[in-house]
């Protein structure tokens, strides 16, 4: 009988513990998802916003009343914001900044990766960050560098470049499991297998479209260009399948 009671008590605690985690994931599913060019990011009851030089934190526990609770200067020419677990990756004209948000109300600067000035959206997983750099006056300084940089962030305090891959004019990017999708402006998009971060493998290339950013949703990717919205099925990453295309200008 005592064993029975212990078992029941143990089960209750175990299930409770499980439910606590579920609460977090429920609130996650009530938020949408931006592309890698986003300047907003929602994490549970906090809204992170970047604006040219600053990172701001709004408390959105009361969803319809965002309240500014933290503000700090990050750098200059801040372009993009990406969150992975307890870290924010901020892309700017001068480099990538990594902040820790274990305390969500108060981001703490961890490290940065500086490079020559150009725009850089960034996405990351547990151990690797992927950054694109492209030429073009919008990125303030003209340069001819059009690359995807791969950074080892297994030691988050010390990002280490481990690879660089040439593109035509890379813009936004996204991760579908270990597959990396890179929008290459007027050159379409490319899919790379990033299972071995030391050596990415080009697995697919779709040209004939002009795309600037991508949102992965499960096995599907949504790509946006100046004139079109495309959706592809990436169940077989070696052979992306077009689901739909909208000519938005005439839509």
């Amino acid at each position: 009988m005592r064993n029975y009671i212990s078992f029941i008590l143990f089960s209750i605690v175990f299930i409770w513990g499980g439910c606590a985690k579920d609460d977090a994931s429920v609130s996650e599913s009530n938020t949408g998802q931006g592309g890698s060019l986003a300047q907003f990011s929602i994490v549970e009851n906090y809204l992170y916003v970047v604006d040219n030089e600053d990172l701001k934190v709004f408390d959105i526990t009361q969803t319809n009343q965002p309240t500014l609770i933290n503000e700090q200067q990050v750098g200059f020419g801040i372009e993009t914001l990406f969150r992975h677990k307890d870290h924010l990756f901020i892309g700017s004209e001068s480099g990538m900044f990594i902040y820790n948000i274990s305390n969500k109300a108060q981001p703490v600067f961890i490290s940065d990766y500086q490079h020559i000035e150009s725009c850089d959206p960034v996405v990351a997983n547990d151990s690797v960050a992927f950054v694109t750099l492209r030429s073009g006056r919008q990125c303030r300084f003209t340069n001819d560098l059009n690359v995807l940089d791969v950074l080892d962030i297994s030691d988050i305090n010390n990002p280490q470049p481990i690879g660089s891959y040439f593109f035509d004019n890379p813009h936004g990017l996204g991760l579908v499991d270990s597959m990396l999708v890179v929008c290459d402006g007027e050159s379409g998009f490319r899919v790379l297998n990033a299972k071995n971060p030391q050596q990415l493998e080009f697995v697919a290339e779709i040209s004939g479209l002009h795309v600037n950013d991508v949102i992965p949703q499960g096995n599907r990717i949504m790509l946006v260009g100046p004139e079109n919205l495309y959706q592809y099925d990436l169940s077989n990453p070696y052979d992306p399948q077009l689901i739909s295309t909208i000519d938005i200008l005439n839509f």
Partner: protein, 195 residues
């Protein structure tokens, strides 16, 4: 004492009394000299570029949902099933019903002047609106309502340029003229700003 002015006048009299050919040559040289000296100073640089479209405060803060409109210049993308939101210029977001991804349908447009980005939690859309961050209730995407406004979140002087425009010349923004809610093509004379 010699009077240089008198010598000058006497020279001119001599030239004047010379034959017509001489006068014509002198006239031609004079005209060429005149044009040569002025050629590089008088011509303006005229370039195709953009100029800001200004709005008053009430116009800037006029947030509303309407029927679908034509797309002009797409920017960022945001997805919250079943919808995809596509930012357009500095006007707001197209609302696309993506319940069937093989057949996405534009169902409306949420007008948010000067907007560049959004994020959504539950039924609240957060959006930048000029210097402010606003929260918009989108429970009914065809009938939205601003429910709060965090004023002066953004320093608009940092955003006084056309986005997604490589190498373009533009008329510099003059904040005394109002809030920038768009950019339009124009001919610019000696433009001072370039992106």
């Amino acid at each position: 004492m010699r009077d240089d002015g008198a010598i000058h006048r006497s020279l001119l009299k001599k030239i004047y009394k010379k034959d017509n050919l001489m006068k014509k040559i002198l006239l031609l040289v004079g005209l060429l000299g005149f044009f040569a000296c002025n050629q590089n100073d008088e011509v303006d640089t005229v370039i195709n570029g953009l100029k800001p479209v200004y709005a008053t405060l009430p116009e800037l803060q006029n947030i509303y949902a309407g029927p679908p409109i034509a797309t002009e210049s797409l920017g960022k993308i945001y997805a919250k099933p079943p919808y995809i939101y596509l930012n357009d210029g500095l006007k707001g977001v197209h609302v696309v019903d993506n319940s069937d991804p093989s057949n996405p349908v534009k169902v409306g447009f949420i007008h948010i002047p000067a907007n560049t980005d959004i994020a959504i939690k539950d039924n609240i859309m957060y959006a930048d609106n000029g210097p402010d961050l606003i929260a918009i209730d989108i429970s009914d995407p065809m009938n939205v309502e601003v429910v709060s406004r965090a004023t002066n979140t953004y320093d608009v002087t940092n955003r006084a340029y056309p986005i997604l425009a490589d190498g373009v010349y533009f008329e510099c923004v003059d904040p005394t003229k109002g809030f920038v809610i768009g950019w339009e093509e124009t001919s610019l004379e000696n433009p001072k700003c370039r992106r």
